[in-house]
């Protein structure tokens, strides 16, 4: 009985050893393993004879050995069990692979941030919704359907010291544009400080305009020359530059006394236009003008509809919708 048990034990041990051997892979040079990249580098020389005679099987064997050694390493890693799956915690890769983008540089603070730090001004997070007394509801602080919307005012007071012929709505829009432009300039100045380069221009003098024609360059030059406090009056001229006092389109006025019937004809044509029954409306021009002025679309439709004649209404409406659609 004892002898049989011993033989059995020996047999089991032998089987176990064989199974254990199955995961061992003898190699003359150790295979370098990078578990982070799931990489196995076998630097043992290739048997060219075998490669030529039985290529696919030889390569398959090499691959199997490399994979076995890699898996041996991976199975040694610490394990976690997450929802039926067995997960191994993989170390960071050892092979140095180049990055795709440079390392981000720490951003220096903007001019406002420096000032705020100096004064101890902290950023207070404002809530999105604000109570709107007019509609007695909570509305967003900014953006679509905002509370206390002052862009939709239909009445504006004319202040006591203002010119009565001044358009207060135009003034408001202009001020908004100026504020936006100033903000953009400040932003670009911050960018310039950050990158250490000069302020990129805005509009005509913007950086990055690669293929500027001669005319564009000239225009940019003249604009930048005028961009001083004294509107370019005391700017020195460059060598070879002709100092022109007035630039732009010349205003042409007709002579006081004219030959022949020209004045009479002109006056009569004006009267004829005024007495014509069909309206002299250039529809596309009217629509574009309304859109440019920034007035709402509803107003445009109302305005133009009332102007267009009955016969042309259908065609004009179609054109109108097309132009509004295209202009957004």
């Amino acid at each position: 009985m004892v002898v049989r048990a011993e033989a059995l034990l020996q047999k089991i041990q032998k089987e176990q050893e064989e199974k254990l051997l199955s995961i061992q892979v003898p190699k003359t040079i150790d295979v370098a393993i990078d578990a982070g990249n799931l990489l196995a580098c076998d630097s043992n020389p290739i048997d060219t004879k075998q490669l030529r005679s039985d290529k696919e099987n030889y390569l398959k064997n090499l691959a199997r050995e490399g994979t076995q050694l890699l898996f041996n390493e991976i199975w040694k890693l610490p394990i976690e069990r997450v929802q039926d799956a067995v997960i191994a915690k993989v170390p960071s890769p050892t092979t140095v692979i180049p990055r795709e983008k440079p390392i981000p540089k720490a951003k220096p603070p903007t001019k406002w941030e420096e000032y705020a730090k100096l004064k101890g001004i902290r950023k207070l997070k404002k809530g999105r919704m604000v109570w709107d007394d007019e509609s007695k509801s909570w509305k967003p602080r900014w953006g679509y359907n905002r509370a206390n919307d002052d862009t939709k005012e239909w009445v504006l007071e004319v202040p006591a010291n203002a010119d009565p012929n001044e358009d207060q709505f135009e003034k408001k829009l202009k001020e908004k544009k100026e504020r936006v432009a100033k903000n953009e300039l400040q932003r670009l100045r911050n960018v310039a400080r950050r990158t250490g380069k000069k302020v990129p221009g805005v509009g005509r003098t913007a950086v990055g305009q690669e293929k500027q024609s001669k005319l564009e360059l000239e225009a940019a030059f003249h604009v930048s020359k005028q961009a001083t406090a004294s509107l370019g009056r005391f700017q020195e001229t460059l060598k070879g530059e002709k100092n022109v006092k007035k630039r732009g389109q010349k205003r042409k006025f007709e002579a006081v006394t004219q030959k022949g019937n020209t004045e009479k004809e002109k006056q009569l044509s004006i009267l004829n236009q005024m007495y014509k029954k069909s309206p002299q409306l250039n529809l596309t021009k009217a629509v574009n003008k309304e859109i440019q002025d920034g007035h709402s679309v509803k107003f445009v439709i109302f305005n133009v509809c009332s102007k267009a004649g009955v016969q042309r209404r259908a065609k004009s409406m179609f054109n109108l919708f097309v132009t509004i659609f295209l202009s957004g």
Partner: protein, 308 residues
């Protein structure tokens, strides 16, 4: 000017802002995207290789629909422009001509500048469809095996190996599912040629916890001949390989784990005079220990600390 242009660009919408943020340089980078580009003239073989490699690299890959007439080794501006537009830092460019039949150019970029490129010719190609075996699911991270001493001994091939690892490794992960290790890609270098073989892994029982590995060729299989190479200058490569300090794993001091996996900490104390310990008005001594806390402190001494 490149960095400045990025700053100057004002995002036109929230979506634009998110895209710019995603594409900005970061400490922990995104997974590298690959673009597969067809040149002015391609052969069937080349087109199929591009398509199959694209499938292997999905979803971090882009197969460009249009043809792009470019000569990577003469002028890299087209490819650099495409890489910038598509935010792809790896590329595979396929073309075919009488002088260079079935040509593939593998390459990578750093900061929208060409880093490395290798030009290979496809001698033999067996597609996934040709090899009639079952396949592994898409987007599995492959195990890479490099066979042959040439990958270590030859300078050029060492750089080629780096490019191939970068190209095929997939996203860098912290954890892997052991049953998900199904794909093996093998690269063998011999006599100016590289043999690319793809296998599917079958795990068999072995006596121990670690399984026995059996593999089966699944395709695609490529026999490539190295034609031309363009490697980055040493300083550019060094600059590209520089890792930010923040990305390095922080060393955690004074924490260790024993054989059983229990986490142990070390506290360094000044020497205490046991005769003159502050035992009055010490809240820690007054607190009633909870049931769980009781078990925790079983094997450990309660350290008496001087309360400030």
């Amino acid at each position: 000017i490149g960095a400045m242009e990025n700053e100057i660009v004002k995002p036109r919408s929230q979506r634009h802002r998110r895209v710019l943020k995603a594409r900005a340089p970061k400490i922990h980078e995104n997974d590298k995207k690959t673009m597969f580009v067809r040149g002015g003239n391609t052969s069937d073989v080349v087109t199929n290789v591009l398509k199959e490699m694209y499938m292997l690299k999905k979803p971090d890959a882009l197969l460009l629909r249009k043809r792009n007439i470019a000569r990577p080794f003469e002028d890299q501006t087209t490819l650099e422009f495409l890489s910038k537009m598509n935010d792809c830092s790896l590329f595979m460019f396929g073309s075919h001509s009488k002088k260079r039949p079935n040509n593939l150019v593998l390459g990578r970029f750093f900061d929208n500048q060409t880093l490395d490129m290798i030009e290979v010719g496809v001698d033999v190609f067996q597609s996934l469809r040709d090899v009639k075996t079952s396949k592994c699911p898409l987007a599995t991270k492959p195990c890479l095996v490099f066979s042959g001493s040439l990958f270590e001994s030859d300078d050029e091939l060492r750089k080629v190996k780096n490019i191939l690892i970068d190209f095929f490794r997939g996203p860098v992960v912290e954890n892997i599912r052991l049953s998900g290790l199904e794909h093996v890609m093998q690269f063998t270098a011999e006599d100016g040629k590289i043999f690319l073989r793809s296998y599917r892994v079958l795990l068999k029982k072995s006596g121990s916890r670690t399984p026995r590995v059996e593999i089966e060729n699944m395709g695609p299989n490529l026999d490539l001949t190295i034609r031309r190479t363009h490697f980055a200058s040493d300083d550019l490569f060094k600059k590209a390989c520089k890792q930010p300090r923040a990305a390095k794993p922080r060393k955690v001091k004074n924490i260790s784990s024993d054989v059983f996996g229990a986490k142990k900490g070390r506290i360094h104390m000044t020497s205490q005079d046991l005769k003159n310990l502050q035992l009055r008005k010490v809240k820690a001594l007054k607190r009633k220990p909870d049931a769980s806390k009781c078990n925790k402190n079983k094997g450990k001494k309660t350290k008496e600390k001087k309360q400030k």
